[in-house]
């Protein structure tokens, strides 16, 4: 299977880093999110349970208050003082006033025994009214009977519980109360049906207010109470609701008996926790989900922070890991590049025994082998060069010997004994110096000595057909030169320049120093060489069986083999004027010889 394009285009290092990073990123996000969700749900659940408990507690307290009021009203109705006055059993105006006073006194004693009762009033349709107050003036009867507490009690059996309201039964007294009213006929069953009377017990609103106010539901949460008709009994922001600055979803609340519901009011989300009292009031705990999980943001922050921290750690580790993994590869690559450039003195450090370590070991072995092979080649080349040189030198000797010996034989035949002696003497010196010590480099002075002997021999052979002179600077005499390089050049000058010249020729050997080089020129005034021939002179293969021309090529070849391609021979020639051969070698003094 081919790797995906995405992976093909990147280095292993990046691939590992990116893959790890993505893997870690996903894992961290999933883990952080899950842990956040779980803990948030746990906190939410706890808060909900707590809120429900609180709301139930409020409900129980309120039920307790109301049932207390109910029992008080029941108790009051069994009072003989009240019954006496209501039934009008006493005859005469005076008796009635006295009964009313007794009844009022009884009611007062009940009210005074409890701080949460605001007032107790009895009113009946036929005009009997009595309250716990001695001095306060009740409003006129028609107004009282028209009021809600009275009407509600009359229209229903049992006890009527009002919403919170301002009680205005007394002149100039406006108190906030919750009214518990009870129809008299329910208890005084023996009374005639058309005689209606209602007993009103007013509960101080501050009781409920204080109860609800102290409930803390998170930072902003609160409790409100709504009665079955949908009017608010208690709400900390009642005025804002009436001013329509705030909203509560009362329809939703009224539809729930108990439990929780999330609603949207205005632009905010609220959580209603509802519980219903036995007489129908709904106690509603309002919490803000954001607020409920008070540390939601903190939890988010913590989850995100630890997610990010572990992410960064993991990233760093993944980058380091991928770096550590690919480092030996990179190292190997660098070394391979070096090998590519021809450096073989390298060795990859092997740090591990894994696949890359094996690779490196193999690479090292390979480089070692290459190095071995290379040095073997160099050695062989060197040997080949030396043997070639030896061969070249060795092949000069017989070539010259034949010619000289021919001359000697010819002179001996013609009886020129003196010349035979001279020539033989020169030849013997020449051979001595040639075969001599066998070294390759010799001082220029010795080479010149050698050429003098040679010229002596040749001059005799060609019967003084030419003259010669040697002009070499003193200071280069001690410089080294390859052995037997001048002789083939002089030989060439004689055979190709002087020999065919009808006049007596002249050979000049001039040596001088040019900067770091030494030039030795062999100048003849012979027939010259045509350019075509001259071009061939240096190109001729070292085929020694051919004429003397090959000797020049040999010289050039030897110089270049020994000193390099910068050195060697050059020719200048003009037909019928002569030829100049210039030999160029580096100026090497004996002690500097390689």
């Amino acid at each position: 299977m081919k790797p995906h394009r995405f992976f093909r285009s990147r280095s292993i290092h990046n691939n590992i880093a990116i893959s790890f990073s993505l893997l870690i990123l996903c894992t961290t996000i999933v883990l952080s999110y899950t842990s956040y969700r779980l803990s948030s749900a746990a906190v939410m659940g706890n808060s909900l349970a707590y809120t429900s408990q609180l709301i139930e507690q409020v409900k129980l307290n309120i039920e307790n208050y109301i049932s207390n009021m109910e029992s008080i009203s029941a108790l009051v109705l069994t009072s003989s003082d009240l019954e006496k006055y209501v039934k009008g059993s006493s005859s005469g105006q005076e008796g009635k006033v006295k009964d009313k006073q007794l009844a009022s006194q009884y009611l007062r004693s009940v009210v005074q025994s409890r701080t949460d009762i605001s007032s107790i009033v009895y009113a009946s349709s036929e005009g009997i009214t009595v309250s716990d107050r001695l001095d306060a003036v009740l409003k006129p009867l028609p107004e009282l009977i028209a009021q809600e507490w009275y009407q509600q009690a009359v229209n229903q059996t049992g006890v009527a519980v009002s919403s919170s309201h301002v009680q205005h039964i007394f002149q100039d007294e406006y108190r906030w109360v919750v009214s518990i009213s009870r129809k008299l006929s329910d208890t005084f069953s023996e009374m005639e049906a058309d005689r209606q009377g209602v007993l009103l017990v007013d509960l101080n609103y501050s009781v409920i207010n204080n109860l609800c106010k102290q409930i803390e539901l998170g930072k902003r949460g609160y409790v409100f109470i709504v009665d079955p008709s949908g009017s608010l009994v208690y709400h900390p922001q009642q005025q804002l609701i009436y001013s329509q600055l705030k909203f509560e979803q009362l329809e939703t609340v009224l539809g729930i008996k108990s439990g929780s519901v999330t609603v949207n009011t205005g632009n905010e989300q609220k959580l209603y926790t509802v519980d219903t009292t036995s007489f129908g009031w709904k106690i509603v705990g309002v919490t803000y989900p954001d607020d409920l999980v008070a540390n939601k943001q903190q939890m988010q922050g913590t989850a995100a922070l630890w997610g990010a921290v572990s992410l960064i750690f993991a990233m760093a580790i993944s980058v380091l890991l991928s770096y550590a993994l690919t480092k030996p590869l990179k190292n190997l690559e660098i070394n391979m590049k070096k090998a590519e450039r021809g450096e073989f003195d390298i060795r990859v450090e092997i740090e591990s025994t894994n696949e890359i370590g094996k690779l490196a070991r193999t690479f090292n072995l390979m480089i070692m082998k290459i190095k071995e092979l290379m040095s073997q080649i160099v050695m062989e080349q060197e040997m080949k060069r030396v043997s070639e040189l030896k061969a070249l030198q060795a092949q000069i000797k017989p070539h010259f010997l034949y010619n000289t010996l021919d001359s000697i034989i010819w002179m001996a035949e013609t009886g020129k004994m003196e010349e035979v002696v001279e020539m033989t003497s020169s030849l013997s010196k020449l051979l001595r110096s040639t075969i001599g010590e066998g070294e390759e480099l010799i001082p220029i002075a010795r080479e010149l000595e050698h050429i003098r002997h040679y010229l002596t021999i040749q001059n005799m052979r060609y019967r003084h057909k030419f003259t010669y002179s040697i002009e070499v600077q003193e200071d280069i005499l001690k410089c080294s030169i390859l052995k037997l390089v001048l002789q083939p050049l002089v030989e060439n000058a004689i055979y190709h320049g002087i020999k065919h010249n009808p006049e007596q020729g002249h050979i000049l050997i001039r040596g001088k120093r040019e900067h770091n080089d030494i030039t030795i020129q062999i100048i003849d005034n012979g027939v010259g060489v045509n350019p075509e021939q001259m071009g061939k002179l240096l190109l001729q293969k070292a085929d020694y069986r051919m004429g003397s021309g090959v000797g020049v090529a040999n010289v050039n070849h030897r110089i270049q083999l020994y000193f390099g391609d910068h050195y060697g021979l050059s020719f200048e020639s003009e037909m019928e004027e002569g030829t100049t051969v210039t030999l160029r070698i580096p100026a090497l003094y004996e002690e500097e010889n390689p």
């Binding site: 990073s21 301002v166 406006y174 902003r220 005025q239 804002l240 009436y242 922050g301 990010a308």
Partner: protein
Amino acid sequence: MSSLWSKIGLSALLLFFIIALGWVGYRMFTNELDPKVRTIIYVPKTIDTSIEFWEVMKQGVATAAKEFGADVHTIGTDTELDVDKQIQLLEQAIEEKPDAIILAATDYYRLVPVAEQIKAAGITLITVDSGLNGGVSESFIATDNYKAGRKAAQELIENIHSDDQVAIMNFVPGTATAIEREKGVRDALSQNGVDHVHDTLYSNGSSQKAYQLTVELLKNQPQLKGIIGLNEPSTLGAGLAIMDLGLKSKVKLVGFDNSSSEVHLLEKEIMLGTVIQKPFTMGYLAVKTALEVVSGHKVDSVMDTGSEFITKENMYTSENEKLMFPFIE
């Protein structure tokens, strides 16, 4: 090309982490900052607890403070007339370097310099109920008195004939509230063809003065059919005068504000009705607005908290009960 792409990929990853870290850091940082409680100094005209209006406004302030988690201190003078003391208190308040000051100015002009100082100190200034000349504050939260005046007049107009004579019992000449209310009243009257409006009477905020002026007026102008009292003492004085002269059904009275004496007049049907303000809403909105300004939101420079016309009939409805008979703990 490939190395370019991987460079881009790595840079993107790196950038992502930096952003992620930055975000987390920011969240932590703001989490640290968020619980920082804003401090607000609330300076009503008076801290006299017997004056219902300011007590109710204080409830509104406290409700908002709890809801928005602000720390509100109340400082103030014992009477509404102690302008110098209020200035001095404000100077002290500046020293405390609160985030905001909510001020009910005792004087329309004299508190302007100290208000400028508050602004110069970088403190958000919100005026409530009574504003300042030149609109120095970020927002002025109060009853729209012009509208309230119109509302009162409108109710009177419906109960008289357009050619009936009407009198206005104002309180202090030159007070912004008084001027606005009277303007509203006069505009509504003239637009409805009620042209027989007597010269404005000034009670100077005293119910006795209002009583005397009304008695004189009713004696001299037997044709008078309606009186509009522009604040509580003015209305009360006029109402008592009507009651004492036995002109209950002949002269219609509409007024302003709510006191138990006024409730009494309403129940006795001497008054048609009264326009009441919403101090709770004022207090609540003042804190809310102050916090909005502090957190850099834009707010309206003037906010109307509204007013209600209360009659004997609607006085005990659950909506109006709370306004008319505020529950003071």
